[in-house]
Amino acid sequence: MKEWFSDRHLVFLVAMNVVVVLLATAVSGGLFIDIDNLQSMGGQVSELGILAIAVMLAMISGNGGIDLSVVALANLAGVVAGLVVPHFFSPDDAPVAFTLGFVGLSLLVGAAGGLINGLLIARGRMTPILATLGTQLLFTGLAVGLTNGSAVRIGYVEALSAIGNETLFNVPIPFLIFIAIVALVGFVLKRSPFGIRLFLMGTNPKAARYAGIPENRMLVFTYTFCGILAAIAGIIIASRTSSAKWDFGSSYLMIAILTVVMAGVKPEGGYGRALCLFFSATTLQVMSSAFNLVGISSFFRDMAWGALLLLSLASSRFDLRAFWPLIRSPG
């Protein structure tokens, strides 16, 4: 039943991708599937997609799990690394060392921030929504305080810049990172003891405890992992913008949550698929880029996103196959 449902949801998401791409290609006269546009979309979808994966993991862990601090933490990681690393490695003389230092420190900050979330939720028994709202303010506030609110300019560092802007076999590196993370998370969720335990814990925390699943350790680990994912998004952002700033991506949080719920993740925990999340993220991205290309306002984009989400709900409730002939022949 569940497998069937999720498959149907996956089919819906893939179908939406195809429909939007076909429509946009037709309307734009092929410009939409031009390599430049595909690369541009691939680069854009990654940071949001990675943030959404973090939110998804928190949601799977159950008990009202959610991570509202991911965007703040991504920015904080970039800000801290951008402020500290230049004191140790010169971006001009040792670009590779600088980049490694930047990546390392960002991940460290992300892990530390995630650890704080995990401890507050596991040890402090705080409601995740409240705990991560508090840390969201805390992380943002730290980033503001450390920089007086202005952007930290990192400048052009070849190796670091490559992470966000270069391509490998014509595929943007951020997109490769995103795919790698989707694959990794999908594999871990499905095949690792950790993943199985996370799903079980999200389904029934009490039974999980009786079954010897270490609830606290699982929560701390999960939120720490969320923090690390946030930091990876932060690195990509820093690389794509050559800078770090506390208010970058202020609209990302809601979009990340939208991506997650559109992927069919249950807010009450215990269910979520990385592959669905991937297609959910690409659907939103493809719609967004298509509207930009055709010159439709981004307000309309928001409206279309909302409508699509409600449609996806309806699709899992009602059989939309009756509409297949309509969807299949656009334009």
Binding site: A15, T25, V152, G164, F248, S251
Partner: protein, 333 residues
């Protein structure tokens, strides 16, 4: 169902092949990207953008921007435009630093880049400034000082600590007061209003409680003066406390009338839009802007050209406008 998916994929590939054969028109496109679409300020700018388009055959002008004032959303819009292969971009960056790589990419693909309100932007060909930010802040501060009798407590607001121009105005004002008016005392500087009139109102109330003897407010974001003005009006302090800051005549009208706001300053976004597009056209034609040049736009009739922080130049006009109760009606926006 799988077969249907495969069919769809094939159809997609076919359409793609057809699409690449489709040639673009020869008209050159200048796209203006603003901080956020829909608000009065940038609607006024759009008037300038459209005007330029109608004046210049062979140039297609359009304006777009994100729905939220988020640097990330603006970055995405610009990336999509680069993929769309526009000929020139005229951008009002939310966060200049965040756009450096994308502008670099745009220029490397032969797209002309003009910016506005971003005098620290490295990767731009021309940055157009209506004026010098610090000087603008100092000028507002001078008017405030005169109103306050050059003595007493005053404070400054910014829309957000992340908005560099707002911070420059506040700091320009502070430096000016420190230099010229020793009896003026700056308290709790750079209060954030989050670009929200309600928040500005609440913060102003709190400041009034903390400093009952405060004499002046310098607003940053264009909505700051609205919130401050309302707070003063309610406290019955209009006329007793001075309020100056950036603001739009249409939005501040009723407070200017009531005296809760003493004066506003601004530059005409329509002219800024015209100037950006004009310069973009020059760049497309292979020309550039020189010191003292007349762009044929009010306030930009004798521009000052300096070298920018990167490879490009900074073009500064004298396009600021001071307005108060007596003359705000001359500006229909």
């Amino acid at each position: 169902m799988n077969r249907k998916l495969i069919c769809s994929a094939l159809a997609l590939a076919f359409l793609g092949a057809a699409g690449t054969l489709y040639a673009q028109g020869k008209q050159q496109t200048i796209t203006t990207v603003v901080k956020i679409t829909g608000i009065a300020w940038f609607d006024r700018m759009e008037a300038g953008v459209k005007e330029f388009g109608t004046q210049n055959a062979g140039i297609k002008t359009e304006q777009t921007g994100p729905g939220q004032a988020d640097a990330a959303q603006q970055l995405r819009v610009i990336e999509d435009l680069i993929a769309k292969k526009v000929d020139a971009l005229a951008v009002v960056p939310i966060d200049p630093a965040a756009l450096e790589p994308v502008f670099k990419k745009a220029m490397s693909r032969g797209i002309k880049v003009v910016t506005h309100e971003a005098d620290n932007q490295k990767n731009t060909m021309v940055d157009v400034e209506a004026f010098e930010n610090a000087a603008y802040g100092a000028r507002i501060n001078d008017r405030l000082a005169k109103c306050m009798g050059e003595a007493g407590k005053w404070t400054s607001f910014v829309g957000s600590l992340g908005m560099q121009s707002h911070v420059q105005w506040a700091e320009g004002g502070a430096a000016n007061a420190a230099k010229k008016y020793p009896k003026m005392q700056l308290v709790d500087a750079k209060t954030e209003s989050n670009n929200d009139a309600t928040k500005a109102y609440e913060k102003a109330k709190e400041l009034l409680r903390k400093h009952p003897d405060i004499k002046g407010f310098q607003g940053g974001s264009s909505v700051d003066v609205l919130g401050i003005g309302r707070a003063l009006e309610e406290a019955g302090l209009q006329g007793k406390v001075c309020v100056f800051g950036t603001g739009l005549p249409s939005e501040t009208a009723k407070y200017l009338e009531s005296g809760a706001i003493n004066g506003i300053a601004f530059w005409d976004p329509k002219d800024a839009g015209l100037a950006m597009n004009k310069i973009a056209k020059l760049l497309l034609d292979g020309k550039t802007v020189t010191d003292g040049m007349d762009l044929g736009i009010k306030g930009y009739d004798k521009v000052k050209v300096t070298k920018g922080p990167g490879g490009g130049i900074v073009v500064k006009g004298q396009a600021w406008v001071d307005a108060d109760k007596s003359n705000y009606k001359q500006y229909p926006f």
